[in-house]
């Protein structure tokens, strides 16, 4: 035992020697090269909390399964919590004025959070089996033994939960009654809870439930022969409107005091020119409801029991808020409409008055699209009249607060749901720079350096230090809109779920331009547009230098694979959509080819659902290039559901009704069919297309060389046994196994196969150069493991004759074909790893000389950089002297996690989904962009910045030292001359 501890301490000491200090940051370096932005996502629900004392805030839940409390003044985040995947928030509310109550996971988890600081107060798991609506109701004044109760309906059960500690006071099973509850409410100051709902599709039921015990006091039902469509709107606590099954009749159901009656009104009687079907908007308002008919929204008021009356017809796109009850028993609601590029907010108080209380026209950015949702809140002005503020959610998922005809703040929350990203260069700096600017720059430069010098010589006052820090943080150098020498300044072009393309500057993360793609907006022809991928399309390099670089956005009009595709081309400097194509074919895969045409547009091959390949750009030039290379282009498809990998070759032009020169039919060459009873595809990994490898040889100890098997056509596939796909613990070690394959995607040859027994999903893998690293769970060891596979080419290993190498008589540079039989040597090793992993990536550098780091997105939403040296199959327990010199670390059973190697230092990238590395022009440096709900960007240097001086290098100090030295030389020279002369005169 003591030995083990000693060994452990020794290994820690040893590893600390290897610690890479360049990774760790000093406190004052935070924010120098990195930036972090926090978002929340598209808002679903919002609850205002604006009591007189304290900070005014709005609590929101979003589609990123997040709840947040925002400052109403600035839009800043007081606190937020990401609830995790599959824990979608159904409802939120505020209880007792101090708790935020959230119901999530389809009505099974109820949580209470402390309003000021977001601490979780209690959590309550509700179990049920029948899927149902989930409802949350916080009655103001039902007390059970001095305890306010919260009513929850979820999974067919009705629960009353104590608001103090989250204990279930009583519950009632409605799933056995096969009733689908639509609403739970309480009549004023009574101890009776009403629950109303439908049984089947034509019976309407009301239940009266005792608030004290949960017993059903009364039950009545009525059958409507026409059937209901399911959508309802509550007009008051005694009346509900629903649509019949044909969606053309409004059925108003009265259930006041247990008496049930219904009344039918034809929509065509209310609305002139009605045809088709209507839908009821899910609004919570009193005395009125809204239906969506054709392309407009109709507001309908209920008068005198059953009389329906149309108040207003609003042209879509528009949004109507829930109604807000004001102090004097009035009701207010807001309507947001669009007039050209202006947004018009109308607030109406008291439905009876036809005039609007407030009408504000606000100019909003046209790139934000139309309004999706509106939430209103009132405040009392100094003259005791009501003022209104409106929180609006736009089409691009951004959030705006409007007050007094102005946008108080806006949040670009579309960035919380990045789908894909790419990078492009900034424009080259123009030669002509005005003299004034240079002078100013020179002065600033000098001033800055003198300040820095003071800092170095410890002469700076606290103000100076603050000034230095401020200068470093917002140095104009890093935020310029031009290319820099080191390649640090770039544009990150991201595509969000809302179909918006934004360009972020790598210097500080600001949005340079944004564009809501017209091709990815909801329209008559395209009901469910989805953005899929973004690719660099045209990158002018040698030719076409006068053209701006552009990106290609690939999307589809629908949710299924065979929906027609959409292509959009966006200029990356101006942010304008150059062109868009609505394709007649679907898009199943996009394959960027390693060829460009004369305008430097990259050739892309789009594979549709019928396995036809379509070439883009459609130009004679590209088809010429493509036809020349046709015989050497292959493609493969991974069918994860069927557990098949198929390889295809391109054949000839398609046979379609319309002749298409750019369409090619494909032929299946090979297929790998995994036995579906024992293997299911868990993950695949390939090398990055743009990865640069410096050399094919790896120099090992004793000056020997090994030749890496470097092929872009390699695919890593991990399969797990069907039982091992579930969560950890659902399979026994005997049932679980993980098999990994290295497949050549041209020939379908399996280069390597390895089995890990008692191991299971989730599997994450990263492929670079000639190695794969993958992460999985070992059920026997009860720990996560990471394995590395390195693959070497044995057929080249006999190139050992120095003379032949000198005169160039070797086959190392001749082109290789996958059809030549490869003799590969595979080495592998496994290690324990503490963390579970969300995503993995690897650093990429400009020339591929710098050593690599594995970037691990941990479960704590941080990014950990792990040296590749730790994942080296050649590690042994006792490395020889020469191996030590080579830098091989003695083998340990687990990988070290050095706290300083967290790239994200103290920050968290909430909801981390992806890590992208972008090489800088400087070989030592790689840039890292991590995205999830938050965005994080930084620079990393896996082998330290060996090719540049550090940012805070004091040039002034260097200059002064040189000057001082030169002066000293002169002085001593003069002195020595004098002395010599004196000596001579003696």
């Amino acid at each position: 035992m003591a030995m083990a501890i000693r060994g452990f301490v020794a290994s820690i000491l040893f590893l600390s020697l290897f610690l890479n200090p360049s990774l760790a940051l000093y406190e004052d370096q935070v924010g120098l090269m990195d930036w972090h932005q926090q978002y929340i996502g598209k808002v679903k629900h919002a609850v205002f909390h604006t009591q007189k004392a304290g900070r005014k805030r709005v609590v929101v839940s979003t589609e990123e399964n997040l709840i947040a409390s925002l400052d109403l003044r600035t839009g800043g985040i007081f606190w937020r919590h990401v609830l995790g995947d599959g824990d979608a928030v159904d409802e939120i509310d505020i209880a007792l004025g101090k708790f935020v109550v959230t119901l999530s996971s389809e009505g099974t988890i109820l949580r209470a959070w402390n309003l000021p600081d977001g601490q979780m107060v209690w959590e309550c798991f509700l179990h049920g089996s029948t899927p149902s609506r989930s409802l949350l109701s916080v009655p103001a004044n039902i007390k059970v033994e001095k305890d306010n109760i919260i009513l929850v309906y979820g999974k067919g059960w009705l629960y009353a939960i104590s608001s103090i500690d989250g204990e279930v006071l009583w519950r009632n099973d409605f799933s056995t009654k096969s009733v689908e509850i639509q609403r739970i409410y309480q009549l004023r100051d009574s101890d009776i809870i009403y629950a109303v709902g439908f049984t089947g599709y034509s019976q309407f039921d009301t239940y009266q439930i005792s608030a004290k015990s949960g017993d059903i006091i009364d039950h009545s039902s009525i059958i409507f022969p026409g059937g209901f469509s399911g959508e309802t709107s509550f007009v008051s606590n005694g009346m509900l409107v629903a649509l019949d099954s044909t969606r053309s009749i409004i059925v108003s159901l009265n259930f006041q005091g247990g008496e049930l009656s219904f009344h039918q009104t034809y929509i065509s009687d209310l609305v002139q020119g009605f045809s088709g079907t209507a839908t009821i908007l899910p609004l919570k308002s009193t005395g009125m409801f809204a239906i969506k008919v054709n392309s407009y929204i109709v507001l309908i008021r209920v008068r005198d029991g059953n009389m329906l009356e149309m108040i207003e017809r609003i042209d879509a796109p528009a949004a109507v808020s829930d109604s807000l009850s004001l102090s004097e028993g009035q009701e207010a609601f807001a309507i947001v409409q669009h007039e050209d590029d202006k947004t018009c907010l109308t607030v109406k108080v008291d439905i009876d008055s036809r005039s609007s209380f407030l009408k504000e026209i606000i100019k909003t950015d046209s790139q934000k699209g139309t309004v999706q949702k509106v939430f209103i809140n009132n405040y009392v002005r100094t003259d005791r009249s009501n003022g209104f503020r409106a929180l609006i959610v736009m089409e691009d998922h951004s959030l705006l607060l409007l007050q007094q005809g102005e946008i108080v703040w806006s949040r670009e929350d579309g960035l919380a749901s990045i789908v894909d990203m790419t990078t492009l260069e900034l424009p080259v700096e123009k030669e002509s720079v005005s003299v004034a600017k240079v002078e100013q720059n020179l002065f600033e430069w000098l001033k800055g350096h003198i300040l820095k010098l003071k800092g170095t010589l410890m002469l700076a006052s606290p103000e100076d230090i603050a000034a230095i820090q401020g200068m470093r943080l917002k140095s104009s150098e890093k935020n310029k809109m031009t290319r820099d020498h080191n390649g640090f300044r770039k544009l990150l072009i991201v595509l969000t779920k809302a179909g918006k393309v934004l360009a972020l500057h790598t210097g500080d993360g600001r949005v340079v331009w944004s564009l809501l793609l017209t091709s990815l907006r909801k329209s008559e022809t395209c009901q469910y547009p989805t953005g899929l991928r973004i690719y660099p399309w045209q990158v002018p390099h040698h030719h076409a230098m006068d053209e701006n670089p552009s990106v290609l956005v690939v999307g589809r009009c629908g949710l299924s694979y065979d929906a027609p595709g959409v292509l959009s081309f966006v200029d990356s400097y101006t942010g304008k959509e150059l062109n868009y194509l609505r394709l007649s074919h679907s898009i199943e895969q996009v394959i960027p080819l390693p060829y460009t045409d004369s305008r430097e547009q990259r050739l892309h091959l789009l594979i549709d659902a019928d396995k036809h390949a379509h070439l883009y750009p459609r130009s004679p030039d590209s088809i010429n290039i493509f036809k020349h290379e046709l015989r050497n282009i292959y493609w493969y498809s991974v069918e994860a559901e069927k557990d098949i990998i198929r390889g295809h070759t391109l054949h000839s032009n398609c046979i379609l009704e319309v002749d298409d020169e750019y369409c090619f039919s494909t032929r299946e060459l090979w297929s790998i069919v995994f036995p579906s009873e024992s293997e299911k595809i868990a993950t695949t990994a390939t090398r990055k297309l743009n990865e640069v490898v410096h050399t094919q040889a790896k120099v090992i100890a004793d000056q020997d060389a090994m030749y890496k098997y470097i092929s872009k056509n390699m695919l890593f596939v991990a399969t797990v046994s069907p039982k091992a796909t579930g969560p950890i613990g659902s399979a026994t070690p005997e049932e679980a196994s993980l098999v990994v394959y290295l497949v050549d995607t041209v020939t379908g040859r399996i280069l390597h196969r390895a089995t890990h027994l008692a191991s299971q999903a989730p599997v994450h893998a990263v492929f670079s150069e000639n190695w794969v690293i993958y992460h999985y769970f070992n059920l026997r060891a009860h720990r996560y493991q990471m394995s590395v596979i390195e693959i070497y080419d044995e057929s080249r290993a006999d190139n050992k004759d120095v003379l032949k190498l000198i005169v160039g008589k070797h086959n190392l540079t001749s082109p290789i074909s996958s059809y030549s039989r490869p003799e590969v040597l595979v080495t592998s090793q496994s290690y324990y790893f503490t963390h579970s992993v969300k995503t993995m990536a690897v650093t990429t550098t400009a020339k591929g000389i710098t050593s690599k780091q594995i970037l691990v997105g941990t479960i704590g939403d941080q990014v950990l950089a792990l040296d590749k040296r730790f994942l080296d199959p050649r590690r042994t327990v006792n490395p020889t002297q020469s191996e030590k010199e080579e830098g091989i670390i003695p083998l340990t059973d687990s990988l070290p996690i050095i706290p300083q190697s967290y790239v994200t230092h103290s920050l968290q990238v909430e909801g981390l989904r992806g890590i992208v590395t972008i090489p800088a022009k400087l070989e030592s440096t790689s840039q890292l962009f991590a995205y999830g709900v938050d965005l994080f960007f930084t620079r990393i240097a896996p082998s330290r910045t060996y090719d540049s001086l550090t940012e805070d290098f004091s040039y002034a100090l260097l200059l002064i030292t040189i000057v001082a030295l030169v002066a000293a030389i002169f002085v001593t020279w003069i002195l020595s001359e004098k002395k010599e002369l004196q000596e001579k005169w003696r």
Partner: protein
């Protein structure tokens, strides 16, 4: 002592300077017992002896010079042994001086043996020895360079920057979007 000398020789005038030595010697009679003629007669035998002595001395000297690098070689060997086999400033300095010394010595072979050049002295042999020893020194330097791993004698030195071979086929694809 030095100072005293300087003091004595602060200034001096040689009045005989302008007169030619021969005239003075002619004018002044020879001292008693000194016969210039007898000295001239003796000259041939004495010079022969003298020259022979000089030749042997020169030959001896030449051999000495030729053997000098040997000591150097031993010292170098010792230094190299001290320097170790890892590449650092000291070992590189030692190795390069070990390489440079023989080369510069070989360049100046003619000059080194210039003073001992004589028709009667055979300096080819010492020269050869000198060259051989210096070559040995050079070889030692090269050997050291090799042990430091600075000579491209391994295949790894020739392939370490070889770019990966081009691939004929191109394949793309993956999971459907």
């Amino acid at each position: 002592m030095e100072k005293g000398k300087a003091y004595v020789r602060k200034w001096a005038i040689d009045f005989t300077e302008n007169q030619t030595a021969s005239s003075s010697s002619r004018d002044i009679p020879n001292p008693l017992g000194f016969d210039r003629a007898s000295q001239d007669q003796d000259d041939s035998t004495v010079t022969r002896q003298k020259k022979e002595a000089e030749a042997t001395w020169k030959a001896q000297k030449a051999w000495e010079v030729a053997q000098a690098p040997f000591k150097n070689l031993l010292m170098m060997g010792f230094m190299m042994w001290m320097a170790g086999s890892t590449v650092h400033l000291f070992s590189i300095g030692i190795t390069f001086s070990a390489l440079w010394q023989p080369i510069s010595a070989l360049q100046g072979v003619g000059k080194v043996f210039e003073p001992y050049k004589d028709s009667r002295v055979d300096i080819v042999a010492p020269k050869l020895l000198f060259i051989a020893l210096n070559l040995a020194g050079l070889a030692l330097g090269v050997w050291k360079l090799n042990t430091l791993g600075l000579l491209p004698t391994h295949p790894s030195d020739w392939v370490s920057s070889l770019p990966p071979a081009q691939e004929v086929e191109y394949s793309g694809g993956g999971l459907p979007l």
